[in-house]
Subunit: 237 residues, 2 copies
C-alpha cells in the first residue's frame, strides 16, 4: 500500500520534525538518502521506520514520489528517509575525546563528527549551548558519521577521561605540542572560543601557529587539525 495522503501518521510525524522546535523536543531524528541509511545499517542502528519513493526498489514503506519529496530537506528530492531514535552513549571511552563547549553552528558540529570518525576519536561530547548533532544540517554535514561515533551529552568536562586540552590561541600559557596519553580536545563557540570557566578546568591550552594578522580558523578546521596532530602522539591503548 503506497502512502499517498499527508494525513498518514508517518507523514505527519515527518512534517512535524521539519520544525526545529518540535525537533529539539523529539526523541527521534531524520536521516535522508541511501548513503546515510547505509551508514546507519553498517553501524547497527535500526530505524524506527523507513519511507521510500514508490517503485524505487528500496526496503521501506512506499510513499508517492511527490509527497516524499515535499518532506525532503535536500533540494533535489529524495529516495529514502529514515526515522531513528536519538541515541547518546553514557560511558565515555578514554583515548581521543572531543568536547564541544558551546558550538552553535550545526554544520560545524556535523563536520566535527565527520572528522572525529575519520580521524579515530573515541567519542564526541556535547556541552551546553551546542547545536543538536541530530538536526538535519548536522546529520548531513557529518555524512552519516553520527551513526559511527559515540556521542555523549551532559557529561561534565571534569568527568571526561584524559588530559583536558583547550583549543585556544593567544593565551600566555599556550603550547603547540600535545601531551601523550589520553586526550580530551575542547573547542568553544565560533565567536567567543572556549569560555573562561572551561579554560580553568583545562590542563593545558593548545595553539595552532598562525600568521600575524590572521584572526582565527573555522572551529571544525581547528578541531580536525588537533585530531590529526593527536594521531601522531602515543596514547595508552
Amino acid at each position: 500500500m503506497t502512502i499517498t495522503s499527508s494525513d498518514n501518521p508517518a507523514i505527519k510525524e515527518l512534517k512535524r520534525l521539519q520544525s526545529s522546535h518540535a525537533r529539539s523536543r523529539a526523541d527521534v531524528f531524520v536521516a535522508e538518502g541511501e548513503d546515510l541509511l547505509e551508514m546507519a545499517a553498517v553501524n547497527g542502528w535500526k530505524p524506527e521506520r523507513v519511507l521510500v519513493r514508490e517503485g524505487c526498489g528500496l526496503d521501506g514503506e512506499e510513499v508517492e514520489a511527490e509527497l516524499l519529496d515535499s518532506l525532503s530537506s535536500l533540494g533535489s528530492g529524495t529516495r529514502a528517509i529514515g526515522i531513528f531514535t536519538k541515541t547518546y552513549v553514557s560511558e565515555v571511552s578514554p583515548g581521543l575525546v572531543v568536547h564541544l563547549a558551546g558550538l552553535s553552528d550545526p554544520g560545524n558540529v556535523g563536520t566535527i563528527i565527520r572528522s572525529a570518525h575519520a580521524l579515530g576519536a573515541t567519542g564526541v561530547s556535547l556541552g551546553a549551548e551546542t547545536a543538536d548533532p541530530f538536526g538535519p544540517k548536522a546529520v548531513r554535514a557529518s555524512m552519516g558519521s553520527v551513526f559511527a561515533v559515540p556521542l555523549h551529552k551532559g557529561v561534565a568536562v571534569s568527568e571526561l577521561p584524559g588530559s583536558k586540552v583547550a583549543l585556544a590561541g593567544g593565551k600566555a600559557t599556550s603550547v603547540s605540542q600535545l601531551p601523550e596519553g589520553n586526550l580530551v580536545l575542547i573547542v568553544g563557540s565560533e565567536r567567543a572560543g572556549v569560555d573562561a570557566k572551561t579554560l580553568e578546568l583545562s590542563d593545558l591550552i593548545w595553539e595552532i601557529p598562525m600568521v600575524e594578522g590572521a584572526e582565527s580558523l573555522n572551529a571544525a578546521v581547528a578541531v580536525s587539525i588537533a585530531l590529526h596532530a593527536a594521531n601522531r602522539i602515543p596514547r595508552n591503548a
Copy 2:
C-alpha cells in the same frame, strides 16, 4: 544626503548583485559588515563605494536603515556594505600554494581561504568549476581573508611553482609525508575528489590516515590539515 530611494544607482547596483547570475558576470563584489571592511582596509583594498546606515557614524554614503537592511545578505541587517573590484593576482609566489580543482561549495572555498591566510599560504589558485571566491557565502566564510590572501585564476596546474601534491586517499601510491621545498596542495571536488587529469599532473598523492570505514573528510578540513602539516616541513624561502 541620506539615500532613501531604491532608484538610487548604488542601491540598484547592490540589488542587481543579489542575483548570482549578475554576480558571476560583474567585476565587482560585495563585502558586508564592519569586520570585513576593516580587513579590506588593513590589506590595502579601496572600496568602489561604501554604504552605511544613516547616523551610525561610519564613513560612507548614508542610507536609510530599512533600505540598507533590505540589501543585507545577513539575517540580522547590517551597518555597512562595501563594493569592491574583484582582484586576481597574476603572478604566483612560490612557497605554499593551494589549488582548488573544481570545489563547488562556496562555503568550503571561503573556509579554505580563511585557513590559507591563517596558516601562511602564499596564494590560492582557483581552477575551473570552482565556486566564486567573491560570492557572498565565500566572502563571509573567509572572514575577510579574501582580502589578505593573493587569489589566482586561470593558471594551469603545471605553471604553479613547487611540487604538486594532490590530496587524495586510497591510491596505491599515496604517501602520508609531505616533501620539502615549495608546495602546491591540490584539492578536488567535494564528491569526486581530484580528477584523473589533475592527478596525472601531480608529483605525488598525499593521504591523511583515516580509520577503516570512514569515508572522507570535508574538503576544507583536508586542505587545512595539509597546510598545518606543510608548516612543519622546511621550504626554500
